[in-house]
């Protein structure tokens, strides 16, 4: 849906300083119909990449292209994108209704259709009650919800969100995530940046990770998780002593009153079970040690591979 090919972008803080490269030779692809997370530390180049995608800034080199079905001209492409900025920006003198109507009209949507969609998304995002209030009186959560309604008012095929879950309470985050999943199930491609790694891990099937403006990982979230899985089992069992068959491979974590907690390699699972049966022991827990995305990131940070 979106393709970055060797995209570079530099910024010059002031006339006398050398330009600083914020995005360096960045290449990745967001597949059509995917729900893709965009991870990176502060200053990694996420927002710059998103702004370049939307044409707010001009890239120094490389190319950003879109799927053919998005249209040929920049105007056609933009009419099919729903953009949600990091902190949505509004005209405070307007009411929520006027704001959505204004943005809807800019998309050339008939008034009746705008109202219909406003009511639908307003109800789903629990903001319809405030549509007639001036935006200057909205709380942060309400602004976030209104921003999301305005993002979806034209039924975009591609939704680009910059930190959409920041500033929301757990209930709000859950609602937003549910809507993102629902939209994705309807065929909308979603590309969103976030600092909350667990949220990305929870809902995204694709992942783009950047570090210092360069690509670190691009692909399926599952592949990264599998790649980094240790293939160890965390076990908790009852036995008078550690079975002979696994003594060499067992790593103890804790022992108390013949209860043992530790790890064994995945291939020693059967040996452990057979030994326990033989020696009148019992198994209480057997869990595949699978690292979360956040843990992978932190672990690799220790080895210097990722710096999130």
């Amino acid at each position: 849906m979106i393709k970055f090919e060797n995209v570079s972008k530099s910024f010059q803080d002031d006339f006398w300083k050398k330009p600083k490269r914020v995005v360096n030779n960045l290449s990745f692809e967001v597949n059509k119909g995917s729900l893709c997370g965009f991870l990176g530390a502060n200053g990694a180049g996420k927002t710059t990449s998103i702004k370049a995608t939307l044409g707010f800034i001009h890239i120094d080199s490389g190319q950003i292209s879109f799927d053919r079905e998005m249209g040929k001209t920049p105007m056609e492409i933009r009419s099919r994108i729903g953009y949600f900025p990091e902190s949505p920006y509004f005209y405070p003198h307007m009411t929520g209704h006027d704001f959505c109507m204004y943005l809807g009209q800019l998309q050339s949507i008939p008034k009746a259709k705008i109202l219909e969609r406003m009511n639908y998304w307003g109800e789903r995002l629990a903001i319809a009650f405030a549509f007639e209030k001036k935006i200057r009186g909205y709380s942060k959560g309400m602004l976030q919800r209104l921003g999301f309604v305005s993002t979806l008012i034209h039924e975009p095929r591609l939704v680009i969100l910059d930190e959409p879950l920041s500033g929301l309470d757990p209930v709000g985050r859950k609602e937003f995530k549910d809507i993102l999943i629902d939209l994705n199930n309807r065929g909308v491609t979603i590309f969103f940046s976030s600092h909350i790694v667990s949220d990305v891990e929870e809902i995204c099937d694709g992942l783009v990770v950047i570090r210092n403006g360069e690509l670190f990982y691009s692909g399926k979230t599952e592949d990264l998780l599998n790649k980094e899985t240790t293939k160890n089992l965390r076990v908790k069992f009852y036995a008078e002593k550690i079975p002979q068959d696994i003594q060499n491979s067992y790593t103890s974590i804790k022992n108390r009153d013949n209860f043992h907690i530790g790890t064994i390699p995945l291939e020693d699972k059967d040996k452990l079970l057979q030994s326990l049966l033989r020696e009148n022991g019992s198994i209480h827990e057997l869990i595949l040690e699978k690292q979360s995305l956040e843990e992978i990131i932190y672990n690799t940070k220790k080895t210097g591979e990722v710096n999130l």
């Binding site: 910024f11 710059t48 702004k51 939307l54 044409g55 707010f56 800034i57 001009h58 105007m75 056609e76 933009r78 009419s79 994108i81 953009y83 900025p85 902190s87 949505p88 920006y89 509004f90 005209y91 003198h93 307007m94 204004y102 943005l103 009209q105 800019l106 998309q107 050339s108 305005s150 034209h154």
Partner: protein, 254 residues
């Protein structure tokens, strides 16, 4: 069509702002002063009303254009509301044109409202219709538009304060050109003479849009002079619009 929606939104935003109300009050206050001053003039009250009134009208319109024009685009960039609009199928130039049209509408309402008040005072004091009065109204509007287009351009390449300063300098120096021609220095200095004579070609000569003396003394001004001044004003407006469009298309909204 997008230009219309942006213009409408801009018009409504400024219409609801307190700045406009304050400036409108200033304009009405100046007109009231005009009325009071004219009461002390002997026999020519309507002329004094027209003189000070047109001056107040011009000042009020130029002030609105200057201050609201300087923040017209800058505010959208600073508040980042621009992102919400240009991420839609709205080109940067449509946005710029829409914003300028919205403010032009405000200027028109302001000029027209104050003019109606002025004309009522003028008529009450015995003033009669002169074909140059509507023209002077048109030129005041054109002048305020030019101020707006200049200040918007400079606000795009610098900031609001510098833009106001430069535009004010151009406005004052532009108006001073005709007066300078009447000084001895102009006749004696070749350099000054060349500078003043060529000024209107390198910078907007606002004095060309000032026909107040002709209105006050009911002097004749032929159609070709009126139209050439109008085209002169329009030329500078279009030039600054094109320059602003160029800057806008190259601008980074980071």
């Amino acid at each position: 069509m997008n230009i219309y929606y942006v213009a409408k939104q801009t018009f409504q935003e400024i219409y609801q702002s307190k700045i406009l109300i304050n400036i409108l009050f200033l304009g009405i206050f100046l007109l009231l002063i005009t009325f009071v001053v004219s009461e002390f003039s002997y026999g020519v009250g309507h002329k004094v009303t027209l003189d000070i009134g047109l001056g107040a009208l011009s000042l009020s319109a130029a002030t609105i254009a200057l201050f609201l024009g300087s923040t017209l685009i800058q505010k959208e960039i600073a508040n980042r509301t621009l992102y919400m609009v240009i991420s839609r199928p709205v080109s940067r130039n449509s946005f710029l044109t829409g914003k300028m049209l919205g403010l032009s509408g405000i200027l028109f309402i302001n000029v027209l409202t104050l003019f109606i008040i002025l004309y009522v005072f003028y008529s009450l004091l015995g003033g009669t219709f002169n074909y140059l009065i509507p023209w002077s109204l048109f030129y005041i509007y054109l002048e305020s538009l030019l101020v707006m287009f200049i200040v918007v351009f400079f606000s795009l390449i610098s900031n609001s304060i510098i833009a106001i300063f430069i535009t004010l300098t151009l406005f004052v120096s532009g108006h001073a050109m005709e007066t300078v021609k009447e000084t001895a220095a102009y006749r004696l200095s070749t350099f000054l003479k060349n500078f003043v004579d060529n000024y209107s070609m390198v910078a907007p000569d606002f004095s060309k849009l000032n026909i107040k003396p002709y209105v006050l003394y009911e002097r004749f001004l032929d159609q070709s002079t009126l139209y050439s001044a109008m085209f002169y004003g329009l030329f500078w407006i279009i030039l600054f619009l094109l320059l602003s469009s160029f800057v806008m298309s190259k601008k980074e909204f980071s």
